[in-house]
Each structure stands twice: as C-alpha cells, then as structure tokens.
C-alpha cells in the first residue's frame, strides 16, 4: 500500500503539535521520521494508524492490502505492549482472535510467525521471563501474524540496550524483506534512521513541519553500521537537528 498524509495538523488544547504536514510513503518502502523530542512524532504515527483523529488534513491509503491481511495498519510499540498474563504464543494469537479464523488456521499463523522470529522454543514462556530484545521479537511476531500492509513503528528499539538493538535491526530488515510492508518508522536515533530507512523525513521543532526529506540512496540490505553513506546521512541529519534539539531541550512543557 502507498500511504499519503495530506496537510495534517493537530493540537492538544493550546499545544500545537503538528502543523500542515504532507508526505507520501511508497509501496513497500521504509520511511523514518526523526525530529527533536516533542515534535509530534508519536502523534503523527497515531494519526496514520487511525488511533487519533487529526484536527485537519487526512491520511489516504492507495492500493489493496494482501488478501490474507487481517489488520492493514499494524503497530510495533516502544514498550512492546505485551499482555503479561499471556504466553508468547497467546500474545501473538491475540489479534487473530478478533477475526474469523478457525482454530487451526490461527495456530498455523502463530506457529509461522514465531518461527520467522526465532521464537518457537519460547511459545509457552511469559513475557517477564524474556529479555527486552526477545519481548520486542514477540511484538514483531504479533505484527507479522496479521500480515500487515502498513507497519507503524514507534521507537521500536529505544527501550533496548545498544547490542540488542543491533541484533534486532537484522530482524527488522528480514521482516521488511519478507512482508514488503510499507513502513513508517519513528525514532529519535539518527543512526537507526540512517541504517534502516529508504527515506528520512526530518521534522522541525513543535509544531512539527517538514524540515527536510533525505533519501539514503544505497539499498537498505547493502548498508552496514559504520558505512560511509550511513555516517554521511547521520551527519546531515545531526546538522539539521542540532540547533532545533538544543532549543527543544530548553523548552518548558506544560
């Protein structure tokens, strides 16, 4: 699916968080959204998936979702959002229970999603028994199980330590390779954006507007941490954001 945001604006009371934001994400491509803290990144993501109604503007999806897709707009959350009283398999099965799948098809989907994320042996474990990285793998498996058309990822690696983060990046690349899901990836981590995305949307300080849009150029599968192109993009992002970030940090939020 191709996703288009048109002239989005949103405010919480007196706080204007987004102001006239328009962009498009091509079918199967990964758009990273970066910006200083409080620039409305999370609000934008909620609007894109229909969890918040924008004050102004609209989100348009073009193209058909795959036939076996159960939840076209699917989130991966920063804090994983796993149900602690359900096992790994139970968490992955949760979104499938909302649909008209018979028990066997549901089990098959869960099995498949767990296998793709390397979680087969943890099917019966509870989230608290798993490391943060494994918990986020469960979050990814849950998203995979519904065969999403659009993946909306809200800082999916931010709660993890840096080594785990590097490992999970490989999982994300595989996820995109296998699902071809159009992805909007919100992060404050510039190297994550430079390593993982096809395009990077840089937002200004609140109220969030488009500051720049940077295509990374080299296909994501061919990039490695520390590659010149990655470092170069990271450097450009930082030069765009440095003063904004400094100003945002000095702001008093109500």
């Amino acid at each position: 699916m191709r996703l288009e945001a048109r002239n989005l604006a949103h405010r919480y009371g007196d706080l204007e968080v987004l102001d006239g934001l328009s962009f498009a994400v091509g079918e199967g491509s990964v758009l990273a959204v970066v910006g200083p803290s409080g620039c409305g990144k999370s609000t934008l993501l909620r609007i894109l998936g229909g969890l918040v109604a924008p004050d102004r503007g609209e989100v348009v999806a073009r193209g058909e979702a795959p036939l076996d897709c159960l939840n076209p707009f699917t989130y991966v959350f920063q804090d994983f959002a796993l149900l602690p009283w359900r096992t790994v398999a139970g968490n992955v099965a949760l979104p499938l229970e909302a649909n008209r799948l018979d028990a066997e098809a549901r089990r098959e989907r869960v099995r498949d999603a767990l296998a793709r994320c390397g979680l087969e042996e943890f099917a019966g474990a509870y989230p608290r028994q798993l490391s943060g990285g494994m918990q986020q793998r469960v979050g990814i498996a849950r998203a995979l199980a519904v065969k999403p058309a659009v993946l909306l990822m809200d800082e999916p690696l931010s709660a993890l330590d840096s080594q785990t983060r590097d490992l999970l990046k490989e999982d994300l690349l595989r996820l995109w390779r296998e699902t071809h899901a159009t992805t909007v990836y919100v992060t404050h981590n510039l190297s994550e954006a430079a390593e993982l995305a096809d395009d990077i949307l840089v937002l200004s300080r609140r109220p969030g507007r488009e500051r720049a849009r940077i295509p990374v150029g080299v296909p994501r599968e061919e990039r490695r941490r520390g590659d010149a192109v990655v470092l170069d993009v990271e450097e450009r992002l930082w030069s765009l954001l440095r003063s904004e970030a400094a100003e945002a940090a000095r702001e008093i939020t109500a």
Binding site: G49, L51, L70, T74, A81, L83, L94, P95, R128
Partner: protein, 282 residues
C-alpha cells in the same frame, strides 16, 4: 573520634604504624540495607511460648479463670462445642451469611467498578456516589435493612453485601485505571472490539487489584456477620459469643473467637490460593 579509632584499628590489623594515612586499609562493610526475614521456627516458638506463659499464669492463679480462661480450658470448651454442642450449626449459619453477602456484594462491586473504570457517564455518576456511601459504617444500616427485609437472613446478607460492595467497587475501578493505557491502545490498534478489550485486557489486567480488594472485603464481611448476629440472631458465631457472654461462659465465648480467627485465616488462605492460581504469570 571513631574515625581515628578505626584508622588505628586497621593500622594495627595491617601491622603498620598509624603515623601516616597512606597505608592500605581494608574497607569496612557498613551494611547491606535492612533485610528483615521471617524465620518460621522462631515464629512457632514465639507462639508456643505465649500460650505456655498464659497457661502457666492461669495454673498459678495469677489470671482469673472467669476473666481469661486458660488456653487448655478454651480448647476443651471448643471440643465440647464441636462434639456435643452446636458449633457446626452456628458455623454453618455464619458461613452461609458470609457466602451469600460476599457473593452478592463482590459480583455487583466488580461490575460497578468495571463500569466506573470504562465509561465516562457511569464514572461521573459512580465516583461521587461511592465516595459518599463508602465511609458509612455499614452496620448502622442493619436496623433499616431489618425494617425492609425482616429480622431473618436477608437483612444480614444485605448488610454484608453492602459492606463488601464498596471496597470491591473502589478496588476494581482503581485496578482498571491502573491497566496501562498502551495495552488498551494496542488492542484497539489490532481492531479488537470494546467487549474483547474489556474481557481480554482490562479484566485480566485488573485482576490482581480486584483480588486484593477481595481480601479487604472478606475481612469486612467477617466483621459485619458477627456484628449483625449480635444484634439479632439466634444462630451464628456472633450469637454464640453474645449469649456466652450473657451467661458469663467466657471459655465458650473465647472458643467462638478462636473459631472466627480460624474462619478468617481460612478465607485469607482461600483468596491466596486463588491468587496463586490465577496470577501465576506474575
């Protein structure tokens, strides 16, 4: 002063002169934080010692037999009540009232708490009503309930149900409020219907809080059943205690108190077992 003393001590320990302060010194351990532990052997020993002291005091005549009968005397009285007396009849009457009142008050309390926790309208109505009625000592309403429902079982059951309802409702909506909103949003983002979100996210997420509310509610039920039985009942542990008091049978009276204590422990244990079963995931 003490610093210098310990410096001297460690200097002595390392066999150095205390002339300079550059010598190597072992860092003294200053504590690991307070870590009180419960040692079961000590607990049982202390309990046994208390009973032995009490028994010895009674045997020596320091404690009047009528004022406070000895543990042995209370135990004998309890045995008589259990074998020849009507302990089981009294117990059944009390347990039946507790069960009826608790089930009624708990189930309605959970439903009310869920409504307050989910809907704006019911929250706007429910919170002030609960806040206004919660502080009433529910036993004060027994006379009114007797007028409404008669002196029989229903007035007592209603008093207990009323007393159980409020702490349950408060615990439930507090527990629903404490379920992370992100989990609810997750459910919505996967297209779960509101009923499914309630059943699969809010209710299980609130269960720990609801069960600790059940603990509080059960102890309130125990207080209320005794109080209600003292006001107007022929059977029940409360009635047994009251009539024993009138007859100055303090041993029977205390036997009744022992039964209440055991009843309370059994209920607490049952809720604990339920928690261990339902909250294994914690």
């Amino acid at each position: 002063m003490s610093e210098r003393a310990s410096a001297a001590r460690s200097a002595a320990a390392t066999g150095r002169e205390a002339s300079g302060d550059a010598g190597p010194r072992a860092v003294a351990v200053r504590g690991r934080g307070f870590e009180p532990r419960l040692r079961p052997a000590v607990a049982w020993l202390a309990l046994a010692a208390l009973l032995a002291l009490w028994q010895a005091g009674s045997a020596a005549g320091l404690i009047g037999e009528l004022t406070l009968p000895s543990p042995a005397r209370i135990a004998r009285s309890l045995g008589e009540l259990a074998t020849g007396g009507d302990l089981w009849g009294h117990l059944a009457a009390s347990a039946g009232r507790i069960a009826g009142g608790f089930l009624l008050g708990f189930s309605t309390g959970v439903v009310a708490g869920l409504l307050i926790g989910i809907f704006t309208l019911s929250r706007s109505i429910g919170v002030p009503v609960v806040a206004a009625l919660f502080p009433i000592p529910k036993i004060a309403l027994l006379p009114l309930f007797i007028l409404w429902f008669g002196i029989g079982e229903w007035s007592k059951v209603a008093t207990i149900a009323f007393g159980v309802f409020f702490p349950t409702a408060v615990a439930t909506y507090g527990a629903v409020d404490a379920v992370p909103r992100n989990l609810v949003r997750m459910g919505q983002s996967f297209g779960l219907a509101p009923a499914a979100i309630t059943a699969k996210i809010l209710l299980p997420g609130a269960l720990p809080g609801i069960l600790s509310g059940a603990r509080i509610a059960s102890s309130i039920a125990l207080i209320l059943v005794v109080a209600a039985e003292m006001i107007g009942a022929e059977r029940g542990i409360g009635a047994l205690i009251l009539t024993s008091g009138h007859l100055m049978q303090t041993d029977r009276l205390l036997a009744g108190v022992v039964v209440l204590s055991v009843l309370g422990l059994v209920v607490a244990w049952a809720i604990g077992a339920l928690e261990r079963r339902l909250l294994r995931w914690r």
